[in-house]
Symmetry: C2
Subunit: 347 residues, 2 copies
């Protein structure tokens, strides 16, 4: 229920888009403003919730709101970017949330947010894990990895699985889920540090640095002499083309994203789509929102693994909203090692 | 059981590949030889079957055996091409087939064949339809259309379906199955005659001549202002690219073949694979052989429609093995109207 008093405005630092992005986002496309203010109580008679944001999640899809929509507006609105985050409820006009609740879902890149859309908002029930995990392994990326692998890939024990951007938020989990399931798992990443991480900490059977492979087809043939059954696609472009050449008959490609393509004026062309015919391959794009109903089942699956230490989860944590533009831009150059999180406030 | 006598050799006209094909097949890549001979009884102690071929089916996949395999052989073997056909059993060493049986399955482009592989051989049970139908609506193309539409596309009543090469052996059936299922159906073909056939005889809601559409994207937007739910892909290349731009969220592409691409030295590139991400599209290549177990179910489905006149089936029948090279080549230029069949012998 909304509180009656406490009508004071407080300062609200925000990450705001300065210019619509063409090509790659730059730090200068965003700015952190201290001009914002917000009332910490919910407007009377509404079912909104005011939250204090704790952690924000840097995800590739955020680029979508940075691109110019098909309208006449030449300048972006002066309001905070939005994205997945972890937050604490300060005031609530919604019977499903009460003051003090911890939640994860879509919120703003700012200190405080007034939430009015609860479709993508979950109350956090398990707090004996780092809260930042709800931007990752216990949040959208975790559910993405789980559904993408178990619901889209139709895996069989012993199958050969390849994952690109394998040390990223989703990739590192897909790899470990696939290992726990009994598959042979190889990942690609963009630095020696990430490759070592995949092999030494994240239980991958093999990993390689795609930047050091002039011939991706040859690299894949080295790790998959008998071909690939499942490709978990995070990058697109040349990697997808090389993978198509190396898929086995009845192979499955789960397309989670194509981060190598988002910044290009023109996406790269695909040369080997004919493999779909010759090898009866299935390529399927999916979106985690179609699998939200599986979140409770996913938690039952993943929480024991976390508690027993059978899954390792690597985060790259940046401190403060001021670090958000750099963290966001770094995502597209592969600067982060593990899931990129920004701490907005310590609880 | 193999007969003991009748050991005489008879003349056996054959369609033989002269040169491995690069690019498009030409009539001169094949020749019809009258030099062949065959014994009309099964070699003693074997489980083979000798058949008299009645109808042969011209299918795009035959091109595969015309292309040079990855070996050192510079010349193709001097033996008949193989393909789907309808035949009559003359002698049998196999308990499943007896003299006089009619069968359909993989046989030779020749007057008589000795069959030893029965995995793709069915005994014909229903003879109150034209026997040539077993190269088409009641054979491999029919089962392909049925499985491709009902098992790969997951259709829902009222969905919007687009079919390329729509007057071909498979396309004309997919369109009619989709109409019977309750979908809105549009087809593309390569001549006014075929477009008229689709609209006037084959129950398609709409059809267009892709050769008269300089902008395929615009053509599809005209017929699918709200987008395409299901695309039954027979041609590939530019058409697939244009379709990807016009798919709805959660659209499905069943890839049966890509006939526009088979003759190219380098297949065309695909520009719009990113649609798979944005619209959660599924693209799935399939092969009818994975669905052979559904053949009895398919017959139960399709025979009543044929008997009740609810399905129209259009064949393009060429007379005699001598016409085979021209018929085969015509397939790749779209010369045939309806399913291309070659009569080897009238029963």
């Amino acid at each position: 229920m909304a509180s009656d008093g406490d009508d004071e405005q407080v300062s609200n630092k925000q990450v705001i888009l300065k210019n619509y992005v063409t090509g790659s986002p730059k730090e200068s496309d965003m700015y952190v403003s201290s001009n914002g203010t917000i009332k910490l109580n919910v407007p009377e008679g509404t079912n909104g919730v005011v939250v204090k944001n704790l952690y924000m999640s840097c995800d590739p899809y955020i680029l979508i709101q940075m691109k110019k929509p098909n309208t006449n507006s030449s300048k972006p609105p002066v309001s905070a970017l939005t994205g997945f985050g972890v937050a604490k409820v300060l005031d609530s006009g919604n019977p499903n949330f009460k003051k003090g609740d911890l939640v994860w879902g879509i919120t703003g890149w700012e200190e405080y947010s007034l939430i009015t859309d609860f479709q993508k908002m979950f109350k956090i029930q398990h707090t004996n894990v780092p809260l930042s995990y709800y931007t990752g392994i216990l949040g959208m990326p975790g559910l993405t990895a789980y559904c993408g692998f178990h619901e889209v890939c139709y895996p069989k024990k012993g199958e050969h699985v390849f994952i690109s951007a394998a040390s990223g938020a989703v990739g590192q989990l897909v790899g470990q889920f696939a290992k726990l399931f009994g598959c042979y798992v190889v990942g690609s990443a963009g630095s020696k540090e990430k490759v070592d991480l995949l092999k030494n900490k994240l239980t991958f059977d093999e990993a390689f640095n795609y930047k050091e492979e002039p011939d991706l087809d040859a690299a894949l043939k080295r790790y998959f002499p008998e071909g690939i059954d499942i490709y978990f696609e995070n990058v697109g472009g040349k990697m997808l083309d090389a993978v198509l050449l190396n898929m086995r008959v009845h192979g499955r490609v789960a397309v989670c994203g194509m981060i190598s393509q988002y910044n290009l004026e023109q996406p790269e062309v695909l040369h080997h789509i004919m493999s779909v015919v010759w090898k009866q391959i299935r390529i399927e794009g999916f979106l985690v929102f179609d699998y939200y109903h599986l979140y409770p089942k996913f938690l039952e699956f993943v929480l024991p693994y976390i508690k027993e230490g059978k899954i390792t989860y690597v985060e790259d944590i940046a401190e403060g909203l001021e670090s958000a533009p750099e963290a966001m831009v770094g995502l597209f150059s592969g600067r982060n090692v593990g899931k990129q999180v920004v701490v907005v406030a310590h609880e």
